[in-house]
């Protein structure tokens, strides 16, 4: 217990430090652009573009923290939210690693595994993006080709089909209600943004698990 508490306390301490450093670095980018180009948008021009974005993505950010935080674990959250690309990479890589390691979801061991997975994925992405940027003219015609376009357009179904089978096969009773609900939502309104559905599904899945548990069905 003392080792864990100390580790958690220090994780929050270091996580906050790194996050504040990231915040300053990220803000330095548009600041350097404005200084270098000697071009400053007016407050009105900035707010006109920013307020619609904030009104949509501000609440989404809060929902993502409360939804993904428990999935990613302590350090995984501090790391994952700085490096981004949560839904399409960080959360799936964390889920996959926890499953492969055969550790209990939500445990201290899962926290360790999740952090290693997210850190590794972040470094991998940085290198791939770097290689892609410096060899842009060679790589982009291939990646951007019409022939490959369907593949990248269907990345998420390709990713979650496989992961879904693994998780659903282990928890098929729990999966029934959330899967049926998701199918109904998309059948009724296919254009629903998946980012908005995820926290709703999280609540439904939690409620369904609680109900099944109370009925001793799982």
């Amino acid at each position: 217990m003392n080792i864990k508490n100390n580790y958690d306390e220090k994780t929050h301490f270091y996580g906050r430090l790194w996050m504040i450093a990231a915040l300053l670095l990220i803000l330095a980018v548009p600041l350097s652009i404005s200084i270098r180009l000697d071009s400053w948008p007016t407050l009105g021009e900035f707010l006109k573009a920013y307020l619609p974005i904030l009104s949509l993505f501000g609440p989404i950010a809060l929902i993502e923290i409360t939804t993904y935080g428990p999935m990613l674990g302590n350090a995984g959250t501090y790391l994952g939210f700085v490096t981004g690309n949560l839904v399409n990479l960080k959360v799936p890589v964390s889920m996959n690693a926890i499953n492969n390691a055969k550790v209990k979801a939500g445990s201290e061991e899962a926290d360790v595994i999740s952090t290693i997975a997210i850190g590794t994925a972040s470094i991998t992405t940085i290198f791939i993006l770097f290689i892609g940027v410096i060899s842009f003219s060679q790589i982009m015609p291939i990646l951007n080709s019409e022939a490959l376009a369907p593949a990248f357009a269907n990345l998420l179904p390709a990713l979650f089909g496989g992961i879904g089978v693994v998780f659903i096969s282990k928890n098929y009773k729990m999966a029934v209600i959330p899967v049926i609900f998701a199918l109904l939502v998309f059948i009724i309104y296919p254009a629903v943004p998946v980012g908005i559905l995820i926290p709703v599904e999280a609540i439904i899945s939690l409620a369904s698990a609680r109900y099944l548990r109370k009925k001793n069905l799982i």
Partner: protein, 256 residues
């Protein structure tokens, strides 16, 4: 020479600094996790295997992120989208943010932006919206997490159950999402394509599972998810190529 090509060399160096920061932060937490794993009595080979599996897993999604840079590079050059997608960024946010900022000046995201004020505003809007988590997490995540930890320590069994429920909620969202199909660069990839892709991925994963469990091909554990993903993506190309257009572009109409 345009703004985005001439004046971006210094932005390239900013991008390198950002990349180095991410590598340093990730390495710091990976090393801490290894130490904590050993303190918890976890097998070091398991932790190393996690590194390898995660590296393999991340390759294809990282290439998809690279494509987002392509989408934005037409208007913003390479370096700013590269920086944005390296930290916090996601296509679901960066493209709307850039579009919103560009539209203030009458530009669209498909055209090169040489107006320095517009370019500057785009950078500010893309950044300012995405930093919300970096403000909220240091402020309240510890308190939130401590409640979760309390629950985990006092309700161990339920904790695992609810953690799995959260994952299932997310997975269910994407299983349903396959119904809607997708659109990219003006081309529609219909519901049938995404459903077939999802099913293909599931079938490949089942086959990998059988090979791992029945034939004891243990090394396949590291590659099962990437294999299922890549094979399904390849098959999506085949489906789109060979299915009649009326089927390949059909999207579920829904009731609304």
């Amino acid at each position: 020479m345009s703004l985005i090509s001439l004046k971006n060399n210094w932005l390239f160096y900013m991008g390198c600094i950002v990349g180095l920061f991410v590598i340093m932060q990730s390495s710091f937490f990976i090393i801490r996790s290894f130490k904590q794993g050993e303190a918890l009595g976890m097998d070091k080979s398991l932790l190393k295997r996690t590194v390898f599996q995660s590296f393999i897993f991340a390759i294809v999604p990282s290439l998809a992120i690279l494509l987002t840079i392509v989408t934005l590079s037409k208007s913003l050059g390479l370096n700013l989208p590269w920086i944005r997608l390296s930290v916090i960024g996601a296509i679901t946010y960066e493209v709307p943010a850039a579009s919103s900022a560009a539209s203030v000046y009458g530009y669209g995201i498909g055209e090169a932006i040489n107006d320095p004020v517009a370019f500057s505003n785009i950078a500010w809007v893309m950044t300012a919206g995405s930093i919300v988590p970096l403000i909220l997490i240091p402020l309240f995540f510890k308190r939130y997490q401590s409640k979760l930890v309390y629950f985990r320590e006092n309700h161990k069994e339920e904790s695992e159950l609810y953690s799995n429920a959260l994952f299932l909620g997310m997975i269910s969202s994407f299983l349903g999402y396959a119904i809607s199909g997708s659109e990219s660069n003006g081309i529609i990839y219909g519901s049938i394509i995404s459903i077939l892709t999802l099913v293909t991925s599931a079938i490949v994963m089942i086959c990998c599972g059988l090979l791992i469990n029945k034939k004891k091909i243990k090394w396949l554990e590291n590659f099962a998810v990437p294999f299922s993903m890549i094979i399904a993506m390849i098959m999506s190309v085949v489906f789109f190529r060979y299915l009649p257009e009326v089927i390949s572009t059909w999207q579920f109409p829904g009731l609304f």
